[in-house]
Amino acid sequence: MKEDWGKEAGNIIARWARKHSLWVLAYGTGCGAIEIPPTMTSRYDAERFGITGMATPRQADVLLITGYLAVKTLKRVIRTYEQMQSPKYVMGFGSCTINGGMYWDSYNTIKRLDDYLPVDIFINGCMPRPEGVIDGFIELQKLIDSGQANGWKKYQDNLEWYRTNQKKVIKNWKMPDYNW
């Protein structure tokens, strides 16, 4: 009983710490990257929430998919995502991650991001405003706090399914297996 309590307290502290230090991988995958500088710099200043950019996947917590993903990028994004340390979160940014958006009939972009990566939160807009981005982060913090942001677990559990989808569009699958 006492041990459980200790574990629970540990979880609460861990979640609290996680939600207040969301380090975002600085990977401008799509055109949504244009609204990230205003969000991060003085006008909207997302660092107030402990959100800051991070250059390497291994140190980052959040992967921002800023808009559409070309198939060529998807391959790199998957690799990047798998290099990130758990717990890790994915944010889908803009309409094009939800159902294709602007690029719905493009031969080179994926349409539904959650088929290929576990997305914890979607932000609406094309572009989403910086307020939208911040709102997405706040929502993500809430999810982390309540323990619902567990896309990374979902990814591990359903790896086969994700792999099938990924391999359907990425024709030449020559990648090392990360996902630790």
Partner: protein, 590 residues
Amino acid sequence: MKNIKGALVPFSALKYLGKKPHTVRYPFEKKKTAERYRGFHFNEIEVCIGCGTCSTICQNEAIDMIKIEGVEPGRGDSGLRPRIDNGRCCWCGLCVDMCPTGSLSLTDQYLHTSPDPDSYLLIPGVDNPEMKENISFTKSDTEPLLQFDRVPMRELDGAERVKSFAEVVLGYMQEEARAEATRCVDCGLCVTACPDHMHIPEYIGAIAEADDAKALKYIYDNNPLPEMCGKVCTRQCETVCAIGHLGEPIAIRWLKRYATEQFPDPAAILNPKIAEPNGKKVGIVGGGPAGLSAGYYLALRGFDVNIYEALPRMGGMTFAGIPKYRFPLDSLDKQIDYMKKVGVKMHNNVRVGKDITFDKIRNDNDAVFIGIGFHVPYTLGLTGEDLENSIQAIDFLRRVNIGETVDVGKKVVVIGGGNVAIDAARVSRRLGAEVTILYRRRVEDMPADWEEIEGAEDEGVHIVPQGIPLEIIGENGKVKSIKYGMAEMVPDDKGGRPRPKLIEGDEHILEVDTVIGAIGQEADYSFLPKEIMDELKIERGRVVVNELKQTSIPDIFAGGDNVNRTMDAISAIADGVRAVEGISHYLLDE
């Protein structure tokens, strides 16, 4: 070392330490979005007509038209409403600029963050009624995308017109027609109002694509008298046109007229496929639009069709009732000739009940279609009505159209406000008379087309609204003058439209040579034998029919003015087309 100053310069930023930050401290403090911000959609469900233009222009296919609860399809409303897939939308606002009614707008709301990707479907106006307060980006009046102005139609000058019976409307030239057809947004709402449900967007589209032959095929698919419709149709389609909500409706009638005028011989373009004779015979009483339509499509289906018409030409009321400056004889002949080519047998100058008995027609044929129209005028009910030179508009027009010389004298009064009254007035003008129209109500209450009323005024017809005829005064058995009283409009107790009430003492006398009554007509069923009259269900002068125009006697079908209340040519054509279905069903069990 020389750049030591440069090395220190960054520290000058320290002076900003004390200043107020320009950071937007969202979410603690919200920045107001611009007045034109393009956020989520909002749609005024009541104003929206479900034309689907937003869905057509959307380059992301983000807009679906769906059925929603509480919105019923109707005249000029498809009953569908847009639903936006925010997983597709790019908030360009083209849909707003293209919306013909201005019901769609964008709001200043933009936040939607959710872990559930399926939550991004939005039915604007239904899911977010509260956003009515937040509308920000709306349709612009000054920078429109749609064209709201009609290509003007060239017409003869008013003074020129009264000199002859030459056609007033000159018709579109090719480029004008293309330009006018280009304004259409292809929604198809016009079809909801057309009694015949013609394929209007399709033929307008074909005209815009410079394929007039294709347009003609679409037109002839369910209307064998398009040239007539193109000239004199009451064009209910234009009253519901999507573009008409904020601008002038597409000139659908003139476009149809344009398409039919391009081809002197429709048969060459249409190459109608006539089915093998199926051995069934149909007799048609009355060669008006209803009878002719029924006859044409029946003939196409292989029936042996005979049409019996009392007048010297086919066309019924469109021949006898419509003046030649609106619908010239050669236009009518062109269509009748085409029908003859298809194999419709026509018998003119045969009055059923007199020259041939109805029973004989019924016995000779497997089915009979009655399309006799309304040719018997209502009387005015005034003293002096039976004087010489007090005539009925419908008789007057028929006599003029048949080619008789009619002397109306110098001064004419027409009583009534419908199209027939205006026709009679304008024909009288052309016969050289000064014409006054007496109408009980206001000009805006007149049932006639506004174009007709304007045309009449251009030609110098004097309209006296709110004038109620009281007595026709005669001298030597001839009309000498007419006494009428002025009326004021009083609200109707029963909630109907305002009705005229005579003002005591405000009476005038007008010297006239001829009085023409034009207050309505009815059908003449005297040709029917008594046992059929007993069996046939007739209500308020109109034969009762079912959906497929079948009467209470199974082998007798009916259509046209003697069946429906709208009393126009296109309804009659629609009846004919429906009756073809009914007759085929009845005789061939199809």
